[in-house]
């Protein structure tokens, strides 16, 4: 589905901005300059306005991320469950990068996020659109092994 699809449905085009940005991010993994310019053209907004909005929301990315984006929760519950810090340290060790970085081959990005709305089953992390809960370090290894075998 093209972002323009919604624009034609809704007379208040700019109300569709967040939806359009979300779709663009789904498609390309992040919001490139070109993607933001294109969204702006379709919605009758300047690239500047689109850029300002995209940077306002922390879940829009304006820089490329790896094929697999690993987001580890460092929210209160995950922190109290005693898992978050160990989890991150383990992931950093396994991937050879620090939180906030991407592996050299562009396959994995590691990020800290505030809450994944899984407080009841902490510690939690998200990889792309899949949520993993009640994690142990052993499970993390299994998950990574699985991903490493995938394209």
């Amino acid at each position: 589905m093209e972002p323009g699809y919604y624009a034609e449905m809704d007379p208040a085009k700019r109300a569709m901005l967040l939806t359009a940005l979300y779709m663009a991010q789904e498609q390309y993994g992040y919001l490139s300059r070109e993607a933001m310019e294109r969204v702006g053209r379709r919605l009758g907004m300047s690239p500047r306005e689109v850029y300002n909005t995209a940077t306002f929301y922390s879940m829009f990315r304006t820089e490329p991320v790896g094929r697999y984006l690993i987001q580890v929760c460092e929210g209160l519950s995950c922190h109290l469950a005693g898992g978050a810090e160990d989890l991150v340290a383990h992931l950093e060790d396994r991937l050879g990068i620090s939180a906030g970085q991407m592996t050299g081959d562009g396959r994995f990005s590691l990020q800290m996020v505030q809450c994944l709305a899984a407080c009841g089953s902490s510690p939690a992390m998200r990889i792309n659109d899949t949520l993993y809960t009640n994690l142990t370090l052993g499970q993390v290894d299994t998950i990574l092994q699985d991903l490493e075998g995938r394209p």
Binding site: R33, M36, E37, S46, P47, R48, E49, Y51, N52, T55, F56, Y57, S58
Partner: protein, 578 residues
């Protein structure tokens, strides 16, 4: 509009029902401090310095956005209010670098004035002291993010008043930052250097290169006058210190510009690189010699007497009506340096702010007549007005290589709904027929087509701009013919500050005849003249100017010079004709 009764600080007043507490307080003669609010733009209630106590309201309310209501009782200086404002200032001062003593805006800064008024004598909070970059990529002014309080005035004037929309805010909360376009250096952005952001900045964040550290509020005078660079005829305020203009600002009270100026009106005169003419100069055997005014006048009279009526006087738009009247009495033919068609205008410039459709014919309103161009951009962006462009470049057959793709020829291209070549003008007519208030704007080359179009579009008004700030005023005192290469024994060019001169004119002057130029600057006239006579700039003279729609403006002396007033020189020429 019905009135409501309000009580502010015990003062009772009847005020219009549709205004804010801030405006109501002004009615009652009570001042409320503001930082993000500015009378020329919409209020956003961001900075919280205007917080006031309104009875029956749970919390303090920002006066700039809160509407008045019947029976409202407000307190603008209660203990609670003062405490809240001090807290706001404590927060503002803790966020970035506000060491006033190092700032070029010290003693001319709203933020600093408030800090003194609310007695901030120490930093209440620890400061993270982030080190931000200074963006000095623009020619005339710089942006120091360390002094920015994120009031967004610059962003809003760029969007709401200038219609350019270059500036914006990236990120969120404490990470927020004023940026240009998609976060590029300001000098590489779509910024057109109109300087409106600079004029409204309430801190030292936007700093003018020419006037930084040159004079604080208490040391300067403000002189309201007119810009003569183009026929929009903007009202300006000269910021003068010790008989020197250090900065030019737009006059918020003046029509038609209402505070706005363009690069040419605001910055160019203060960054002039050409050599000023202070003393008359005579060319003998190719060398220039300075002479006394008496000698120069003698020479001028002699040359003109010899030529009899074979004299061509050519005036630029920098000549006032008074100077023009005196020159009109001198011998020979009288010409305008540029063709004039503004007298055919039927629209007022104020109509640009009402129009629902613009047809712009053969002129680039982002190059020339820029402040009128701002009104067109505003109309398109904010009122949804339609813009049709008709120019020679639109059909892709322009002789000029740069314009061949139809893009470079008109900076308004991004704003336009359709573009046409002149031969397709009838298509524009069919679109324009449905408009309620169409305005056709044209440059000198489009005047004829514009008037023809106006006959075909119901209710269409025409506004014609031709180069030269006072061309219309000079037309009215008898300069009705444009100079198109007519030959004469003596040419008297009265130039003022004009810098863009057609190569054809210079070439003809180089060819022959005696060339006398009355001018403020040597270049480029020293290539072609035999005698150069000094002329005051717009900053240095008084007089009258008439803009494109016929409005009369007063040019007022900002700087006093020793130069002989041009009227005296020109009157002496008039005696020759008798």
């Amino acid at each position: 509009m019905p009135n409501v009764r309000v009580t502010i600080n015990g003062v009772e007043a009847a005020v219009p029902a549709n205004i804010t507490v801030l405006e109501a307080a002004k009615f009652a003669g009570i001042e409320i401090p503001t930082l993000c609010d500015h009378p020329a733009i919409e209020p956003i209630g961001a900075c919280r310095i205007c917080l006031v106590e309104i009875e029956k309201q749970r919390t303090l309310q920002p006066a700039c956005t809160f509407p008045v209501f019947e029976g409202m009782v407000a307190h603008t200086r209660s203990e609670k209010v003062v405490e809240a404002r001090r807290f706001v200032l404590d927060l503002l001062f803790s966020e970035r670098n506000h060491f006033c003593m190092f700032c070029q805006m010290s003693e001319s800064c709203t933020l600093q004035d408030l800090a003194y008024e609310y007695e901030l004598d120490h930093w209440k909070f620890n400061r993270p002291m982030p080190k931000f970059s200074v963006d000095a990529s623009r020619e005339y002014f710089v942006m120091d993010h360390n002094r920015c309080i994120l009031c967004r005035r610059c962003i809003r004037v760029c969007d709401e008043l200038v219609g350019n929309g270059t500036l914006g805010l990236k990120n969120r909360g404490a990470d927020s930052m004023v940026t240009a376009d998609m976060d590029v250096p300001f000098g590489e952005s779509s910024c057109i250097s109109c300087g409106t952001c600079l004029q409204v900045c309430p801190t030292g964040s936007l700093a003018d290169r020419a006037s930084a550290y040159m004079g604080a509020t208490a040391q300067i005078d403000r002189v309201k006058t007119r810009c003569m660079a183009c026929p929009v005829g903007c009202g300006t305020e000269l910021i003068v210190r010790e008989n020197r203009v250090i900065r030019v600002e737009g006059d918020w009270d003046a029509e038609p510009n209402k505070g706005l100026l363009c690069e040419i009106g605001r910055f160019v005169p203060l960054h002039e690189k050409r050599n000023r003419v202070r003393q008359p100069m005579v060319r003998t055997d190719g060398d220039w010699t300075e002479v006394e005014m008496e000698e120069a006048l003698g020479l001028m009279n002699e040359k003109m007497r010899e030529a009899g009526d074979d004299v061509a006087t050519i005036v630029s738009g920098f000549v006032t009506v008074e100077e023009g009247k005196a020159l009109a009495q001198s011998p020979g033919a009288k010409y305008l340096m540029h063709p004039i068609a503004s007298e055919q205008s039927t629209a007022k410039q104020a109509d640009l702010d009402e129009a629902d459709l613009f047809v712009v014919v053969n002129t680039d309103m982002t190059e020339d007549y820029q402040v009128a161009g701002f009104a067109i951009k505003r109309g398109v962006r904010q009122r949804g007005a339609r813009l049709l462009l008709i120019n020679d470049a639109a059909d892709g057959e322009a002789a000029d290589g740069e314009a061949a793709d139809g893009e470079a020829a008109d900076g308004l291209g991004d704003w336009a709904m359709r573009r046409f070549g002149p031969e397709d003008a009838n298509q524009a007519v069919s679109i324009a027929r449905g408009a309620q208030m169409p305005v056709i704007v044209a440059g000198p080359d489009g005047a004829k087509l514009a008037t023809e179009l106006a006959d075909q579009i119901p209710d269409a008004k025409v506004l014609i701009y031709t180069p030269g700030g006072n061309s219309r005023g000079l037309y009215e005192v008898g300069f009705q013919e444009a100079f198109e290469g007519q030959e004469a024994a003596v040419y008297h060019v009265v130039a003022g500050e004009i810098s863009r001169i057609s190569p054809e004119l210079l070439e003809q002057l180089r060819q022959g005849g005696t060339v006398i130029v009355t001018t403020s600057y040597r270049e480029p006239w020293d290539e072609v003249a035999d005698l150069i006579v000094p002329m005051p700039t717009t900053f240095e003279k008084s007089g009258t100017t008439v803009n494109a729609d016929g409005m009369v403006g007063q040019v007022v002396v900002g700087v006093i010079t020793r130069a002989v007033p041009t009227n005296e020189i020109f009157n002496s020429l008039a005696e020759l004709a008798q």
